[in-house]
Every structure is written in structure tokens, then in C-alpha cells.
Amino acid sequence: MLITLIQRLIWMLVLVAAQMLVFNHVHLFGYATPLPFVYLLLMFPLNTEVWMSLLWGFVCGLLTDIGALTPGVGAAALTLTAFIQPPLLKRIVPDDAVEDLTPNYSTLGFFTYARYAAIITGLFVVVYYLVLAFSFHNIVDWAISCASSWLLTWLLCLVFEGFRKTKKKI
């Protein structure tokens, strides 16, 4: 239990640091900014309580906001996504899945995991850009930013998951 907590804490700090130091400065074609700190939510096992998911999401979002100088944006988006994550995972896994199933390539299979990651990252990126823009004055630019950032975020989450799997094997 304590080891899981520490591992999760380390992952959160690494993701926040990577977001602050690297990904916040990436603006591919002037539109796409990856937001892979949402990967923290993808690591939560099936039996995670909603309140715990909410608190992790809020704290992680808030720490990222401090680095991005946009207080409230990441916290609002990641908290809402964290609220959706536990019931969504319950719908995706088979009915006979073990109680503490951790979503990854081996437990869900690549395509199911990729679908799960696409929904979580998609929801998060849309909410994030909605809160950030707070208006639809330039809806085309908003949609392009949303779609391209979601694609980059999703791919990065899949890469992170592959990396985590490799580390486990070693």
C-alpha cells in the first residue's frame, strides 16, 4: 500500500516536472501542446475510490498549473477527468476482471488500452482547452489545438505505458 503510494507520488512528480520543463514549451505548428500528465489517471487500478482519484487529479493539476502560470486550468480539467475515470474503467474491463486490475497492455490488450487512453486523454484535453479558452470566438483554431494536442498526448501516454511495461520486465 505504502509502496504503491510512493510509486504514484514519484510518477506524479516526474510527470509534473516533465510537463513544466519540457512539454509546456512544445507548440507544434503553433497548435499542438502535449499534456501527458493526465497519464497519472491511466495508472489507477480498477478498485480506486472516486474520492482518491479526485484528490490525486486535483493535486497533480494544481502543481502543473503553478508551472504553467495558469492557476485553475489544469486542476479543473484533471479533477473532472478523475471523476469520470473510475466508472469508465469499470465499463471497459471484462465483468470477471480481478478487483485490483491495473490497466495496461497485458491486462486489457493493446487495442482496448489504447481506446481507454484515447477516451481519458480526449476528455481531459477538451475540458482543458474549454477552460483555457473560455469562449468560442475562434472555434476553428480551438478545434485544431484540441485535436492536435489530444493526438500528441494520447501517443505520449501509449509510449509511457510501453516504457513502464519494459521497465517491469527488466
Binding site: E49, V50, W51, L54, L55, F58, G61, L62, D65, T70, P71, G72, V73, A75, A76, T79, L80, F83, V131, F134, S135
Partner: protein, 284 residues
């Protein structure tokens, strides 16, 4: 209590979500200039609309009372008009005299009707908001009157609204005279009852009595001469003993103010600019 605890236990995650999202949005609006300005603009628009709806509803509810007051006022004015017309006819045998005087007084003046959106009478410095602004030709320093007397002077304007500094403001200072004589003084409000103001600087040799009428003097570009202000209710000596200080019972009931008229004069802007230039030259 038990039911409340059960409810909180069952839906605790919803409660946490609302609290955390609420905190996030507080941070968002507090520390991001863009979101903050959007929030303030939206909130102002919403509050403005709510005030306008409230005012419309209240105005509709009070239409009966307003009609009654107008009918009574109309009756009184008709009687006055009849008496005055008879006396004028006897004195001058010239029936066009009154019309000519009115035409002379109102030359170059138009009256722009407006509705009161917000109003206060309880503060030391009260202000009134009306639903006409620069788009309707309203500019600062224009006079505002109502069916029963004077109201105040336009203080600030936006595109569709204007703030009026009413007589019930410690900074208001309006030149008035005693009806039927040329003695004039300055009308001020010193707080307290919104029904009474004070007319200072009336010379010692002036002759008048309690119940005499007070009207605008017309010594400024703001109000034309002869607009009814109120009646003398008490006479006192000024603190230095050199003049009279008259307590005036105001004809305007500011606490029930709904419909007003803004006095727009043809050369208002030109006169205003000239007065400003004169002030700036004098201060050099």
C-alpha cells in the same frame, strides 16, 4: 440528520467534486487576467439585465399609482392654467403672451425621456442610473428633471447608460431663486430626510414667507429658468448672520422616482467646452 448523513455518505464524491472544481474556478478567475476580465464583464452584463428586469417589473406594478399621481397633477395644472389664463387675459388682453414666454424659454431645449434603473436616497452621496446614454445624445453636465421638479445633473455617461448626481448628493449645488422675485441662492442637500434641502445665500432685504415657491434661476446652462423645485418650509439666519437660510420642502419624491427627462440644450457641448476653457485659462 440521519437522512442528511446518509445522503452525504452516498454522494460524498459529488460533494468533493463540487468543492475541488469550485476551488479550481476561484483560482482561475482570481489569478488569470483574461478569465477574470471575462468573468467581470459577464457578471456586469447579467447584473445589469437583472436590474433592468427588476426595474421594468416594479415600474409595471406601480403604473396604477403613477397614473393616479399624474391625473391629480394634471387636474391641478389644468385648474392653475385656467386661473392664470383668466388673469392674464384680464391684465394684458393678449392671449398669445403665455405661449410666447414658454416658446422663448424652451428655445433650443429638448427633453429626452429616460427610465430610472437604480436609485438610492439613504446614502450621503446618492446616485441614480438611467437607461439613456451617449447614443441618445446624453452628455455629462446636462440637467435632469421629472414631472414634479428637478432631479439632478448628469455625472457620467456610457454608450447606453448615464449616472446622474441627484440633488440628494452632498456635492450638488444648484442655483435657484424665489418665484416672483429675482433673489437667488444655492440649493444644497445636507443629508437626513430626502424631502428637504437648504437654500443658502438669500439676502437679508429679500421679502418672502413660508410656503413661497422656489424655482431654478436659469443662471447656468444646466437647467432652464422657472422649473419648480419646492416650497419654503422654514426660515433661519445663516451662521454669519448676513443672509437667510431657507429650508425647502422638495417637490420631487426621490424615493419613488421612475420616469425622468434629460434637458438637452442645442449648444450644450459648445457652452461646456467654453466654460472648461475659461476655467483652465483662469487657473493659469
Amino acid at each position: 440528520m440521519r437522512a442528511l448523513l446518509d445522503f452525504l455518505t452516498k454522494y460524498h464524491h459529488w460533494l468533493i467534486l463540487i468543492v475541488l472544481e469550485g476551488f479550481s474556478f476561484v483560482l482561475l478567475f482570481q489569478f488569470n487576467h483574461y478569465h477574470n476580465s471575462l468573468w467581470v464583464t459577464t457578471a456586469n452584463n447579467v447584473v445589469g439585465r437583472i436590474y433592468a428586469w427588476e426595474e421594468n417589473a416594479l415600474r409595471f406594478i406601480h403604473l396604477g399609482e403613477v397614473n393616479e399621481a399624474l391625473t391629480q397633477r394634471n387636474l391641478t395644472l389644468e385648474q392653475n392654467n385656467e386661473v392664470l389664463s383668466e388673469r392674464l387675459a384680464l391684465l394684458t388682453h393678449d392671449t398669445t403672451y403665455a405661449e410666447r414666454i414658454m416658446a422663448e424659454r424652451m428655445t433650443g431645449i429638448t427633453l429626452q425621456p429616460a427610465h430610472v434603473i437604480t436609485n438610492s436616497v439613504l446614502r450621503r452621496n446618492n446616485f441614480i442610473t438611467i437607461d439613456k446614454g451617449e447614443a441618445d445624445g446624453i452628455l455629462p453636465e446636462m440637467g435632469v428633471i421629472c414631472g414634479t421638479g428637478i432631479v439632478g445633473i448628469v455625472y457620467m455617461t456610457s454608450r447606453h447608460y448615464a449616472i446622474v448626481q441627484p440633488l440628494l448628493n452632498s456635492r450638488s449645488n444648484i442655483s435657484c431663486r424665489l418665484r416672483g422675485s429675482s433673489y437667488f441662492g444655492y440649493l444644497r442637500w445636507e443629508g437626513g430626510s430626502p424631502l428637504y434641502a437648504v437654500l443658502d445665500d438669500i439676502p437679508r432685504h429679500a421679502r418672502f414667507k413660508v410656503g413661497d415657491s422656489v424655482e431654478t434661476s436659469g443662471f447656468s446652462s444646466v437647467f432652464p429658468a422657472g422649473i419648480f423645485v419646492g416650497k419654503i418650509s422654514a426660515i433661519e439666519n445663516s451662521s454669519d448672520g448676513l443672509s437667510y437660510r431657507l429650508k425647502v420642502h422638495l417637490s420631487t419624491d426621490f424615493s419613488r422616482l421612475q420616469n425622468v427627462l434629460v434637458v438637452t440644450q442645442e449648444f450644450h457641448q459648445e457652452l461646456h467646452d467654453l466654460e472648461n476653457n475659461a476655467d483652465s485659462v483662469a487657473s493659469l
